[in-house]
């Protein structure tokens, strides 16, 4: 039995002391183990971030509630946003990328295994540092506690004057660390994809997951770095007496906004593009057809990457830019919807004429399609800047982006879990629990995030620890909170499934889904070296060619 199965199996199999197993995991440079570490790390923070959300929703269940103080509430929404983006979404996507990309391109590991490990531990350290603020907070000299400046940390709220103590510094330094970790992994992914593909795997034959991770990593290099730069400037302001964002000295608060959103907008594409990748791998397999329009899918993604670098100020429509600037960002934002829509149509085209199998991975992908469609359309509404002058800073925006992140990203991630868990662990996730997870989460998601749009339309701003009664927001907020609790229960079901199936799940074998990409050609879990012989490929679906020698793909590509 391979010695690369997860810890407990190894101990059972080889009888080595748990300390040794732990040491192997802590010092690993194997992309598969690092992938698992990233994923476990993110799942942990998903639960923490979810608890923060539950606190927020309990507080907002009724007006003038006093479940938590305003100070605690403000820390909750700051930590919830920061955690979910930087310590759940980014690492989990890098985790899947780390695990899958070398396997899918026929490589034995990533290009720089030690950099891979370093990047993971740097990111992990960042998360630890951010949460240390809760302890390192109300300690000596009144050093403050968890950051409470919102996850965008707008200036001058983050200046020494308005954020005394060190809470903002925990935010800044934690994200600097994890940012550099992200850059390291992005470099690794790019170099791996460019320099380590197996023979025959031209770029035009790579699985879409590899393409999309390539694009996403390129965007990380260009998007995370402005945030790092702005954070360095913030540290200069806070510790060296600098004036980058010091409005008293002529500095500009809007400069921070520009720098932040030059990061912030491409960042959300960084998050969604790997999810497009999951969906692009899962839908074809469960429709029993190749992806419709592979070259267009690649082209559209590259298009999205470029155009998304030009839309950032749609987060700033209310700051008083000129009508020309507002018009410019309106059109670029609407324009980026075109390639995104094309992708939805291509997924539809993949399903069209297929033989759709409603296993759990596919259920989550279908949910993704419907929900991402809606999220994209509310995005178009927000792109229209006058409409945004009403909707910005309100719960409509909160509903929109949670629709993308939960309805889009998280659903695609769940699909990825159910699809690749057999490969990673050698066992199938329980299909009944999976369906239960899906339906429960679906109901909770829609209850919360469909309704959440309405208080925004009725004037409810975001980031408020309480609200006035009688404005039409009361019942809606109550129901939104109920939906959140339902989603929480669904997550419990999911985690239970992950744990239960690890021990009792049906054995998966190499290829439980009858799929077509290289990772399904090796055992589940794969051996440490991935492939005993580096494969040579002749088409985009090497396993299809093997299974259908009378009708191989390379005849048609």
């Amino acid at each position: 039995m391979s010695s690369d199965a997860l810890a407990i199996q190894t101990t059972e199999a080889t009888g080595q002391p748990w300390v040794q197993t732990l040491h192997e995991w802590v010092t690993t440079v194997d992309h598969k183990r690092l992938g698992v570490l990233y994923i476990l790390y993110s799942l942990f923070f998903l639960v923490i971030g979810g608890m923060e959300a539950i606190v927020i929703r309990i507080q907002l269940m009724r007006p003038h509630n006093d479940f938590v103080s305003p100070q605690v509430f403000n820390r909750m929404f700051t930590m919830h946003g920061t955690t979910m983006i930087f310590f759940v979404a980014m690492p989990i996507l890098f985790g899947f990328g780390n695990y899958l990309v070398p396997l899918m391109i026929g490589a034995r590991d990533m290009a720089f295994p030690r950099l891979n490990a370093f990047s993971f531990w740097l990111t992990a350290f960042g998360g630890f540092l951010l949460y240390f603020s809760l302890l390192g907070g109300n300690g000596l000299y009144g050093a403050g506690t968890a950051p409470d400046v919102g996850w965008w940390a707008y200036a001058p709220l983050t200046s020494r004057a308005f954020s005394p103590g060190h809470s903002s510094d925990y935010w800044t330094i934690a994200l600097l660390a994890s940012g550099f970790g992200s850059i390291g992994t992005a470099i690794n992914l790019i170099v791996t994809i460019i320099s380590m593909r197996c023979p025959g795997m031209k770029l035009s034959r790579m699985p879409l997951l590899a393409w999309l991770n390539l694009v996403m990593s390129g965007m990380v290099l260009l998007a995370i770095t402005p945030l790092s730069a702005a954070q360095l400037m913030l540290l200069v302001d806070r510790y060296l007496g600098g004036h980058f964002f010091d409005t008293q000295a002529g500095g500009s608060a809007t400069l921070w906004m520009h720098f932040f959103w030059i990061f912030g907008h491409p960042e959300v594409y960084v998050l969604i593009i790997p999810c497009f990748a999951f969906v692009s791998e899962i839908i074809p397999v469960f429709s029993r057809k190749p992806i419709f329009g592979y070259p267009v899918m690649v082209g559209a993604t590259v298009c999205i990457a470029f155009v998304s670098m030009s839309v950032w100020a749609h987060h700033m429509f209310t700051i008083g830019m000129s009508s020309y600037a507002n018009s410019f960002f309106t059109i670029t934002t609407m324009a980026v919807g075109v390639p995104t829509g094309i992708k939805i149509f291509n997924w539809l085209g993949t399903m069209w004429g297929g033989k759709i199998l409603f296993k759990t991975p596919m259920l989550f992908c279908i949910g993704f399609l419907f929900q991402f469609l809606i999220a994209g359309l509310t995005g178009i509404m927000l792109a229209s800047s006058p409409f945004d002058w009403q909707l910005s800073g309100s719960y409509f925006v909160v509903a929109h982006f949670h629709y993308v992140i939960v309805g889009g990203i998280l659903f695609a991630l769940f699909g990825a879990f159910y699809y690749w868990y057999p490969k990673i662990t050698g066992r199938m996730l329980n299909e009944t629990l999976g369906k239960f997870h899906f339906w429960l989460f679906l109901i909770g998601f829609h209850l919360t995030f469909d309704l959440m749009h309405i208080p925004g339309l009725l004037g409810m701003p975001r980031r408020i620890y309480t609200y006035e009664p009688g404005r039409g927001w009361d019942t809606l907020n109550f129901l939104v909170s109920i939906g959140a609790f339902i989603q929480g229960i669904a997550i419990v079901v999911f985690v239970a499934n992950l744990i239960f199936s690890y021990f009792k799940g049906a054995k998966a074998g190499n290829d439980p889904w009858d799929a077509w990409t290289l990772e399904w050609s090796v055992s589940s879990p794969p051996p440490a070296y991935n492939f005993s012989t580096i494969p040579t490929v002749a088409s985009r679906r090497p396993l299809w060619d093997l299974k259908h020698p009378e009708d191989p793909d390379n005849r048609y590509e």
Binding site: T318, A335, G349, G353, L369, W389, E468, Y556
Partner: protein
């Protein structure tokens, strides 16, 4: 093949849940719409963006209905196609062995669903650009009222430079007759960090940013009270930085203006309270015309009793609340920058009685 069985029930369940979701959403929207129909009284406590009473808010609503219409149509078309695909192309038990036709793509279809969205974007953009320009580049007619709004943590300062008025938190502006418009143009500044002025029924929001001058305008066409609040996170009590805009008839507005322009009540009835005000640190932050109080850190109190609320809407303006606010502001708005004044009961009573005279 090791795919396993397919569950035919699941397909219908998927569709059913989708339809249910849509109906639910529609129902909720109808509920919301019913809350903001055109026939609600002027004192509508629901600050809905679909209940405009001013030109900017109205042109935004008009545009938003257009955008909603187009996006709604797109949604319907794609939803139907997706739902159809999910139902029609589900795998059936018989014939599950043979793979379907392996189609790789189609240039014509790709062109179609590229060109059409581009056209839609062009239309939406043009409609939007018109409204942007119409609102942002609107000229100032002769009857304009100019107000300077200064955002503070966590209250609003309003100055009428031409009229010589300074007040706080509750804005009085005249109703505007479309035939002879008298809109209010607000100059937006900030004394500390970012804020945002948002009264959904009157206009879209615009931010108040330190070291930057922003501008917005509104021309309310119905008398009444309009509610809103700060819409850009500005610190601990961002949630309680509430706004009340009183749109007055021309007569009422003029009456209010002349009241506000009066100097502070010089009755000398509550001398001991006035003495406390002038000799305690109150005057470091607060101004009352005719006293040595010229502080600008906190709201101007010259006509405090002309306001219905205190602490930027956090509490009703009653003697009890005033007393509580001075003695223990944390009880009303924890984290606000009003310090607890630590006065004795007698001093507090006298002070409140004095403040009550500031009509």
């Amino acid at each position: 093949m090791r795919i396993g069985e397919t569950m035919r029930k699941a397909d219908w369940q998927v569709i059913a849940s989708r339809v249910a979701g849509i109906l639910f959403l529609l129902a909720a929207e109808l509920l919301a719409a019913s809350l903001c129909s055109a026939s609600t009284p002027a004192d509508n406590p629901v600050p809905s963006i679909f209940d405009p009473h001013s030109t900017p808010a109205e042109s935004i609503r008009h545009l938003s209905v257009f955008v909603l219409g187009i996006t709604g149509l797109i949604f319907l078309v794609v939803f139907i196609l997706l739902a159809y695909a999910v139902v029609k192309f589900r795998s059936r038990k018989a014939g599950a062995e043979r793979e379907p036709a392996q189609v790789y793509g189609s240039t014509q279809i790709e062109l179609a669903w590229t060109v059409i969205p581009i056209l839609i974007v062009a239309v939406l953009f043009l409609a939007t650009a018109r409204v942007i320009h119409g609102i942002q580049d609107a000229p100032k007619p002769v009857g304009t009222i100019e107000v300077t709004a200064i955002g503070h943590q966590f209250w609003w300062e309003f100055r009428y430079p031409a009229l010589g008025i300074v007040t706080a938190n509750e804005l009085h502006i005249p109703v505007s007759d479309p035939a002879h418009p008298s809109p209010t143009f607000l100059k937006l500044l900030s004394a500390d960090t970012d804020h945002s002025f948002w009264i959904p029924q009157l206009a879209g929001k615009t931010d108040l940013i330190p070291n930057r001058v922003n501008q917005m305008w509104m021309d309310p066409q119905r008398v009444g009270i309009y509610l809103g609040q700060c819409a850009q996170y500005c610190g601990t009590q961002h949630a309680k930085m509430l706004l009340r805009v009183y749109v007055d008839s021309p007569e009422d507005f003029n009456a209010w203006v002349s009241e506000q322009r009066q100097p502070a009540n010089q009755d000398d009835k509550e001398l001991s309270g006035k003495h406390i005000f002038e000799t305690t640190s109150c005057v470091n932050c607060h101004a009352v015309g005719g006293t040595n109080g010229t502080g600008r850190f906190g709201p101007d109190l010259t006509h405090l009793m002309s306001r219905r609320t205190i602490a930027a809407g956090a509490a009703e303006n009653t003697p009890e609340n005033l007393r509580l606010w001075i003695q223990n502001p944390d009880a009303i708005k924890t984290g606000s920058l009003m310090p607890a004044m630590k006065l004795s009961d007698a001093e507090l009573d006298a002070l409140v009685r004095y403040l009550e005279t500031l009509q």
